[in-house]
Chain length 298, copies 2
Amino acid sequence: MLISKIGEFGLIERIKKLVKTGPLVIKGIGDDCAVLRFDRNKYLLSTCDMIVEGVDFTRKDSPYLIGRKSLAVSISDIAACAGTPRYALFSMGIPRNSTVEFIGKIIKGIVDLAKAYKIDIVGGDLSRSEKLIIDVNVLGFVEKINLVLRNGAKVGDIIFASGTLGGSILGRHLKFSPRIKEARYLVNNFKINAMIDVSDGLAQDLSHILKESEVGALIYEVLIPQSNQASDLEDALYSGEDFELLFTMSRKEARKLFSRRSKIFTPIGEIVERKYGFRLMDERNRERVIKPEGFRHF
Amino acid sequence: MLISKIGEFGLIERIKKLVKTGPLVIKGIGDDCAVLRFDRNKYLLSTCDMIVEGVDFTRKDSPYLIGRKSLAVSISDIAACAGTPRYALFSMGIPRNSTVEFIGKIIKGIVDLAKAYKIDIVGGDLSRSEKLIIDVNVLGFVEKINLVLRNGAKVGDIIFASGTLGGSILGRHLKFSPRIKEARYLVNNFKINAMIDVSDGLAQDLSHILKESEVGALIYEVLIPQSNQASDLEDALYSGEDFELLFTMSRKEARKLFSRRSKIFTPIGEIVERKYGFRLMDERNRERVIKPEGFRHF
């Protein structure tokens, strides 16, 4: 049976079933970060993301931006848990015909973004491979009271997205700034119930929150903040790599957020009971079911 | 300029120069693990190792053993720092034509070895790639007083190796058991000055200790514990993937170790002043210079 038959998320489910974790693991496989015991006030966060030539970038992309992206995607996972990134290790599979200049620019892209986010690069591994591959592991911290996972959404919550969605493939996926500052602002000022970063598209990533929280959602077409580069609504729903924050909070907290007149955070819908599933209200007030589809590796 | 011109270690040197780390980093790039502040008594260790189809294994190898190896090499780095492994994350690049059975066996190999070493698997990332690639990140801990790095070897120290060396390519590289128990025995009973695991061959890995410690070494051909599978001395010196421990301790500590009549640890030579370089005394009492060569990715 080919791996595409069960798909990326089917495989993750199988791995989850095989793995049992001990009491020091607050959250294992299945969220944006692993959450591990650290000290009385803080948790340790760990996440890794692999980017692959031909899937996440091409050889024609700027090597500096390839390096930058390889770190940015892991930082975005730390943001999704409302943490602060602190350390990074990176493994690189490097094709034999690479030049020192090309690899040097990739590394510069990693190092510069690390500096901008005050992350110490502390190790890694270099290997030979046919296609260029970079896997970055980021360690971070989050105060226990500020940890946000995918599983805390409650019926009645308002769903928000940061920034705009869609069209990232036109270039933004290589240049985005992970939403650490925004996530920290949120948890320092509001009670956030659930959060994820939009890596595989709004439809798929919101589905993860719904599944983990055992709830449904109704989102409104008119509210979805489509990027200028999005070709249409479907693009904003399914195309992925936006690396924006998607989160839910109670109506009371949402009113507090509205009163700040923030331009970054847009309400896009509400959490409803699970039995209603995941629906979109279109511009003509017709509801349709949203399938949890988006970018999948296989 | 092609990357092979500066080589794997030349590239690591360049990265080291680009990277500055803060006060929470006890040891960054350039040892077996990153060593990070944790609490009053312990350090946090983090390491990652990438294994690549066609370089570290082939599609004809047992998928169970491929998975096992992907985790084992990172555990071996924790052993080299005398730590205890605790958590693992793994990223996999999976070719489209892979079967669920094949990938399932790889994951079983990872999960079983994790259980054997009491490691919690807490996360990872799945991606599509042309060749199978697995990058494993292991987090562990070491008591501050037990941390061993590459840079502590002192003139007069005796150099030891665990197990036997050479011929690993015939199959042992897929089945080795990382030397956690042995490393913990050593630091719990002796003062170890420097340690590394033999991943790229005795000659190259001992050279790392010599460089970091600013010393030289004289090793004795008759003492080198050649594996039954090693074809000759050169194989034992240069072939790599033994994943044995290589360490140095004072003569006084070495006498204590001798008195235990351990069959695992073999003295192979002594640390001398840097100006003598790295030499081997052959069976006819002739000295020759050992070049720091071994497995290199490029």
